[in-house]
Amino acid sequence: MVPWLSLMLWLPLLGALIIFCLSRERQQPAKVVALVFSLIELAISLGLYFGYDRAAAGFQFAEKYSWVAALNINYHVGVDGLSLPMVILTTFIFFCAILASWGENRRAKEYFFLVMILETAVLGVFTSLDLFLFFLFWELELIPMYFLIGIWGSDRREYAAMKFIIYTMTGSAFMLAGFLAMYFLAPTPTFDMIELAQAGFTPAVQGLLFILIFLGFSVKLPMVPFHTWLPDAHVEAPAPISMVLAGVLLKMGGYGLIRINAGLLPEGLKLYVPYLAVLAVISVIYGAYVALGQKDLKTMIAMSSVSHMGFVLLAIAAMTPMALNGAVLEMFAHGTVSGLLFFCIGLIYERAHTRQIAELTGGLAVQVPRIAVAFIVASLASLGLPGMSQFVAEFLVFLGSFPALQVPTIIATTGIVFTAGYYLWTVRRIFYGPLNPRWAHLEDMNKAYEFIPLVVLVALTVLVGLYPNIIINWSDTSLVALGL
């Protein structure tokens, strides 16, 4: 039998190796290799997605080999209905981000080398069933990301890269502590998630473990007040890396919270429901308010992510299958939509060399109508317009959370007004009105590699918006199996 999952997991590393061996002289081969590998990844992940037997809950395509036998550490990977949507999100976003990087000619070889490593790391996080392995991939993700921001970023790139590392790692320290504590406190020391789910920790123990691990994931999500690394990282990162950051890296936080915090420590989760709900609501409303007050397009979208990830946290606090399905759908939807938004910002920045809303004012719709339509569609998707994926996701989160958490849900729903506010206000300032003569030279989108990511991401957004079954039919059985 072909170990498809491992193949998918390690192929990008092979791609990285091939890129490493290429000549430094020419940029094109590295791009082509990266694109080909990302396409293969996409194909394998879709094969796994549609090959997954939805009737049987639980992990499939699992592979388990003993690794460090003395410490009971295993190479254990597998996917279920929670991880699969994240996996295909990852392969789609990487494919689009690589195309979005097609114009990158500064040290392209190193750039795509790092991107390939990043893909393996992210897929590893979503497929590991062993906490030790999970942690390794979690940390591995930092290294390429650090260099991608630190080398290809803009003016304050080193500061942003360092901040990104420090925040994540500080969270990781607690997370690692939590994992180690779990390992030692389990009846027989193990990192295996499936075994840990049956470890039978008492609620008090679960509560303490929960806090440690929660600190790690909430930084990544990110949750207010641990979110300030995100605007900096986004502003400094090149646009395609922002696509990956918002599109999939943040989902590692949400995924971890559902998989480990909710899945392994449900009793711990129950202890903190009110606090989580409050933090979620603060993230939603405060994030939206701060987004409204931003002057830079990228920080605005970054804060919008904070706000939207608040819905995910709310759903986790509500602990109902409907809300959690909404959360998974929200993560997928936000991944494609924020990918699309950062992609559009990249198109604008590449031409105008600024992301300041005040400078970009106004009338760009006259000059670059295609970019305008793309950005407006993305904004409408992000503000939860029906027919697109985030609407269904947020509706399910609300519907699922309301019975459990009435007041927080009611407050969170007001977020839809602010979201409409900052998106439409931004669209109004940048794209509408008479054309600013300063931008009369801008060229509209005209290259194939600019259209493909756009079409793919919009198609995913609309497809999931019209037919949410293609995510929730996968996620539902696995989330019900969590038994919350």
Partner: protein, 629 residues
């Protein structure tokens, strides 16, 4: 026939897709595709109406997706209310589109316009067809999107009072405030009885499964959605701004159909409002107050297109008053129907004026009857219908509302209704005389005026005929409309003495109002705002009214400026300097992070070592803790 009802909704969507995909570059083809599809919908809707009149009713439903025990569906609920709405929407959209060929002639966005109009028709018909809360909410949002796109249609123009895209943005955000209420109302009901299907919810409410308190709260929240969409106080301010959109849009979306969606929503959900009957009083009083507020502004406003917009707000207020007073759908829905025709007519007629005169301000208008006889005559028909002169359409529906108020012992609201009727007749004839009467203003002598082309005048004539006859289906002598919508509450045949007296009183009031308008504006043109008798007589009142009761300065000058944008800037500053500062500060104190920032590469490794060390320490403490426990 009824089983094809879903096609009514789908046809305009097909038009939208065809225009975007195929005919975008062929302008006239786009218009024809849109009109053809709408024509099919109109024919189907008439067929469905006929079938329903003959006793047919149906609920078609498809499963959209299921989750746990929940089934989310897309459906078509064909009952008398929906059948009437289908015809109203299709009829007005169809003629509005024909009119738009003339009105939008030469516009670079011609195809885009017809695409958006088709998308709007799809959304509106989907809303009408909805058989469940999720679907109505989805299409509720989509009509909002179309409204936004069409108000801001001329996105690079300066606009009359504010830029069109700003007006579109205001409309979307203001209505979304109401939508939050609608959403919470839906969530409350869904949590109480796990279904979103209208009939199942109504059955449960009828069986007393929802406590009255919850029903009241939910109904008021649902009504919030209607307040936003139907521009009722306190969320009414977006509608006059929406007049920045092309006039066919104002006629279709911001007069006849979308803004009436709130009325339709309340009428549709009447069982819930009845279960929590305190909510009905809220509906009635908000409606009554809004009717008065908007009419009072309409009396003095110098922008004639906006006067008609205020008139719409006021008339929608009447409809809510009717729904709230009677606790039944019929009177409100009847006024919705008649209003749709005569208000669309008034807008399209004023659009014809704007098209010719290139202005909608009182100072530029006057004396146009000679140059635009068809427009003038059809406008007059609309004005008479709006004023409520028998036997024009508005008379019957308005009269039924006032009669219901008296019958239900709401004398205060009945008097208010009569006062508003006076104001209504006064302001619309102010517009009529100010536009068509008198002489052409001095500074416009050299402007070339012309009657509109047939694509515009034919729809005007059709709508004018409707504005005359459509009320005849609901006279107190033979109220077919009420009998159709609510067979079980069939009214007594023939009016009683109270009804006849009220008819007489309201007719006299309206005639007096028209005469007053003629005395002030008909004999001699009032050249500008300063020359208004009210501005000279009671300047403070005039100032108060023309400034729209100072509600908008408060909203935009205080709430938006400080509460939203100002506070957002404060939040952004706070986030940047306080939150970020604290976290960075802690980090700097804890370990050599500052150093790390200076020596990035080596700092990385140092920091990593520190992290691992910290993790081990924490674990050690934990283990020690648990081992001792």
């Amino acid at each position: 026939m009824i089983q094809y009802a879903w096609l009514i909704t789908v046809m305009p969507l097909a038009a939208f897709c065809i225009i975007l995909g195929l005919t975008y570059r062929q302008k006239m083809a786009s218009a024809l595709v849109a009109i053809f599809c709408m024509g099919v919908s109109l024919a189907l809707s008439l067929g469905v109406l006929l079938a329903v009149v003959h006793g047919g009713e149906a609920e078609l439903s498809l499963t959209w997706f299921t989750l746990g025990d929940w089934r989310f569906e897309v459906g078509v609920l064909v009952d008398p209310m929906a059948a009437v709405m289908f015809v109203v929407v299709c009829f007005i959209t169809f003629f509005d589109m024909i009119y738009s060929i003339g009105y939008m002639h030469g516009d670079p966005g011609f195809s885009r316009f017809f695409a958006f109009l088709s998308l709007f028709a799809f959304s509106m018909l989907g809303l009408v067809a909805a058989n469940n809360f999720l679907q109505i909410f989805i299409f509720w949002e989509l009509v909002g999107l179309c409204s936004y796109l069409l108000i801001g249609f001329w996105y690079d123009q300066p606009g009359v009072a504010l830029p069109p895209p700003s007006a579109g943005m205001r409309a979307f955000i203001t209505t979304r405030i109401g939508d939050v209420g609608l959403l919470i109302g839906i969530l409350m009901l869904a949590a109480a009885l796990p279904t979103l299907n209208f009939r199942e919810v109504f059955a449960a409410v009828g069986a007393g499964q929802v406590p009255a308190g919850l029903a009241t709260t939910a109904a008021i929240l649902l009504f919030m959605g209607a307040v936003g969409k139907s521009a009722q106080f306190p969320l009414h301010t977006w509608l006059p701004d929406a007049m920045e959109g092309p006039t066919p849009v104002s006629a279709l979306i911001h007069a006849a159909t979308m803004v009436a969606a709130g009325v339709y929503l309340v009428a549709r959900l009447m069982p819930i409002f009845n279960a929590g009957s305190a909510s009905l009083e809220v509906v009635a009083y908000i409606g009554g107050f809004t009717a008065l507020l908007a009419a009072s502004i309409g009396i003095v406003f110098p922008d004639f297109k906006r006067v008609i917009a205020y008139s719409t707000i006021s008339q929608l207020g009447y409809m809510f008053m009717a729904l709230g007073i009677t606790g039944a759908a019929t009177a409100g829905m009847f006024h919705l129907t008649t209003h749709a025709f005569f208000k669309a007519l008034l807008f399209l007629a004023i659009g014809s004026v704007i098209h010719a005169a290139e202005s909608q301000h009182m100072r530029d208008l006057g004396g146009l009857r000679k140059y635009m006889p068809v427009t003038a005559f059809t406008f007059l028909m609309g004005a008479l219908a709006l004023s409520g002169i028998p036997p024009f359409a508005g008379f019957w529906s308005k009269d039924e509302i006032i009669y219901s108020a008296v019958e239900h012992g709401q004398t205060g609201l009945a008097v208010l209704g009569l006062v508003v009727a006076f104001m209504t007749a006064f302001y619309i004839f102010r517009v009529y005389f100010g536009t068509f009467g008198g002489e052409i203003p001095e500074h416009r002598r050299h402007h070339h005026y012309h009657e509109a082309p047939p694509t515009m005048t034919v729809p005007l004539i059709v709508l004018a005929i409707m504005a005359i006859v459509v009320g005849w289906v609901g006279t107190p002598w033979a109220n077919y409309f009420a009998a159709f919508l609510a067979p079980e509450e069939h009214l007594a045949a023939g009016p009683d003495s109270t009804a006849l007296t009220l008819m007489a009183i309201s007719t006299v009031i309206v005639v007096v109002a028209i005469l007053s308008a003629w005395l002030v504006y008909g004999r001699k043109r009032v050249p500008d705002v300063d020359a208004e008798p009210l501005a000279r007589g009671i300047p403070w009142l005039h100032k108060f009214l023309i400034n729209k009761w100072y509600i908008e300065p408060f909203y935009y000058g205080v709430i938006v400026r400080y509460g939203a944008v100002g506070l957002a800037y404060v939040a952004a500053w706070f986030d940047r300097h306080v939150i970020d500062g604290i976290v960075n500060g802690i980090a700097a104190i804890v370990g050599g992070v500052g150093q790390g920032l200076r020596h990035v590469q080596s700092g990385y490794l140092q920091f990593y070592a520190m992290v691992i060390f910290a993790a081990v320490v924490i674990v050690a403490v934990y283990i020690a803790l648990f081992v001792t426990v």
